[in-house]
Amino acid sequence: MTLAIEGLCAAYGEIEVLHGISLSVEKGQLIALLGANGAGKSTAIKAIMGLVKPTAGRVLLDGRDIAGEAAHLAARAGIVLVPEGRRIFKKMTVEENLQVGGVVRSAAEVRERLADIYALFPTLGERRRQIGGTLSGGEQQMLAIGRALMSRPSFILMDEPSLGLAPLVVERVHQAIDRIRREMGIGGILVEQNVVIALGVASHAYVLMRGSVVLSGDPKTLAASPQLKEAYLGMG
């Protein structure tokens, strides 16, 4: 299965923030989308999810154009988002959060899947009756990822999962991301500010700057590239 975007443009009002970016990801592959604040990373994945209507370009899931479809249809098509700021349902228990994540699946599948998630994140299993809002930041991030996995997606998009977390927790989150790819064979797009960790888990990375891809390649080449620092910290 392939998720590809071709010449994607998106705008907020009259401001175009994405100027035709293209990338693709296979099932079982994790790619990273890097860039400074405001480079258009989040917009790109929001456009894939249908949260932002693309002004041009295509979002192809196995050749079928899903660009501009309503957000809830993306999840049904097998693409889920772990949004920035986690956005778990704070008044629901851990288990209810996960069950909501499996809303597009049958009850039996949800039960089966719950066990998988608890195996992946044992902490969530221990806290299944706890109210989501009372979890720590790291646990909430695990829950957000777990919730996304409940629908057995083909692709998972993650928007800054390390934001606001302590370095040790960031490490654990990324280990989990790596396991998802390897053990579950899910494809993923990781939007990250933390370049080192992103390059540590991704097999290919794209660097965005002001809405265009300025650099792409495998992590080794990118890490050595002086343009990378420029894209983040270029103060002219």
Partner: protein, 464 residues
């Protein structure tokens, strides 16, 4: 980078899927049938022994279903494709039409104003004598009261953006203030008019103070509660207000001490005219016209003052307001007080004109009517509010006269019943169609003369 090449405008066509339209229509008809079956299909009537019995109205039910199905079919076959076509090929702007619009906008106000001034005389000359009474009194004065109330509420809702569902309470305060003070102390209308306005404004501040930090819809509900509390107190505090029965024999306003009655010192006798109630009506008409125009003038002036600017800024964005140095509490309070004051004026006029008041005149429905005038007219637009008042109140009054409809719908058909039904439905439709009201464009409060000189090098570049 840019959008994919759009199809050339001339070739864009829209296919009408008739099968789908028919299916949609069938579904709509089925829903409409189910929806109207209990309330239209059956009618509960009391028989001689005062027991309820059912009658069926199958024909009426089917008529309704047919009308709705027909409308749906029309929308799917004609309107929807037309809109789609228009979306694909935007119509070129019609220069003549635009010009006509500007001309209308320019001349409408002076014309309307002139018409309002000559209206009673015109009616008097056309219909003469008592025939004019109805058109001046029921029609002219009634409409102008609502125009004034609409303009008053417009300050609160239209300018400051505070949804007040209890506006009628201040109208009641004005009416009862005038009535009680006039009956108790025998003071004249012209002394009590400002006093009633002041009292209402005072109540506006008093009620406004605790509620102003509430968010929009909560504020609306609290003002509604206050409005109802005022009405219930008027009903229940019998020793003070005479409760449901109301107060009659309220002194009428005089022209510099000359009353409008058939006595020797009355208006007609003084000026050597034959007595007719039309003189009082014409006098009252000009009083309320003047009051309404004062309201409009004050509002227009206020919009140019810092406080008016603060109101409109507040309506648009409260947080931005605070960081501009605008004290939002005071700004809201002044809007409340101003609105209440004009309601107080209108209330005392109402009491003086009717000669009788009771809590019946100050129900929530009255608040809703005034609010819908403001909303339908386009919030913040003076002309829009006036037009809406004329259409809604005038429309109601005309409905009373449509006796010929009884010929079609039977003798128990009472067209005025449909007034509020249409009000309600119009409110919904207009919110959907134009959430900011019929006259969506507001008149700028302060026009700054654009200077054509090029100032500095940076003006011309970019979008200039």
């Amino acid at each position: 980078m840019s959008a994919p090449a759009a199809a050339p405008a001339s070739t864009a066509t829209v296919h009408v899927n008739i099968g789908r339209a028919l299916k949609d229509t069938a579904i709509t008809a089925a829903i409409a049938f189910a929806l109207f079956l209990p309330l239209i299909g059956f009618k509960t009537v009391q028989n001689m022994r005062n027991e309820l019995e059912l009658e069926t109205r199958l024909a009426l039910l089917l008529t309704f279903v047919a009308i709705i199905a027909g409308a749906k079919l029309f929308v799917s076959l004609v309107i929807a494709p037309w809109r789609e076509r228009r979306a694909l090929n935007p119509a070129p702007t019609n220069a003549t039409l635009a010009k006509a619009k500007t001309l209308l906008a320019h001349w409408f106000t002076p014309f309307a104003l002139g018409f309002a001034v000559v209206y009673p005389i015109l009616i008097f000359t056309v219909t003469g004598g008592t025939g004019a009474l109805k058109w001046v009194d029921n029609f002219g004065i009634q409409i102008l009261i609502y125009v004034m109330l609409g303009w008053g509420l417009n300050i609160v809702v239209g300018l400051a953006g505070l949804l007040d569902l209890g506006y009628v309470a201040f109208y009641a305060v004005g009416a009862y203030s005038y009535t009680l003070l006039a009956k108790e102390f025998g003071l004249s209308f012209w002394i009590l008019l400002p006093l009633a306005g002041f009292l209402s404004a005072f109540w506006g501040v008093l009620l406004g103070f605790p509620v102003l930090r509430l968010r929009g819809d909560y504020l609306a509900i609290v003002t509604l509660a206050f409005g109802e509390i005022v009405r219930l107190i008027l009903i229940n505090w019998v020793s003070f207000t005479n409760g449901y029965a109301g107060i009659s024999g309220i002194p009428r306003p005089t022209l510099f001490g000359i009353p409008f009655n058939a006595n020797d010192d009355g208006f007609a006798a003084t000026f050597g005219l034959e007595f007719s109630p039309i003189y009082r009506s014409m006098f009252l008409y000009y009083v309320i016209l003047a009051l309404a125009l004062v309201t409009a003038y004050v509002t227009i002036r206020l919009r140019q003052l810092p406080v008016g600017r603060a109101w409109e800024a507040l309506r648009e964005d409260e947080i931005a307001c605070r960081s501009l140095g605008i004290n939002t509490t005071n700004t809201k309070l002044t809007a409340f007080a101003m609105g209440a004051m004009f309601a107080g004026f209108a209330g005392s006029f109402f009491a003086a004109r009717q000669g009788f008041i009771s809590p019946e005149s100050f129900t929530f429905l009255e608040s809703a009517t005034i609010l819908s005038i403001v909303v339908l007219g386009g919030m913040g637009s003076q002309i829009g509010v006036a037009v809406a008042a004329v259409a809604m109140i005038g429309g109601t009054e005309i409905m009373r006269d449509l006796d010929f409809l009884k010929y079609f719908f039977g003798s128990d058909f009472d067209p005025t019943q449909y007034r509020m039904l249409l009000f309600g439905f119009a409110m919904v439709l207009i919110m959907i169609w134009k959430p900011r009201g019929l006259v969506g464009t507001r008149e700028p409060s302060a026009i700054y003369k654009e200077r054509r000189t090029i100032l500095g090098s940076h003006v011309k570049e970019g979008h200039g």
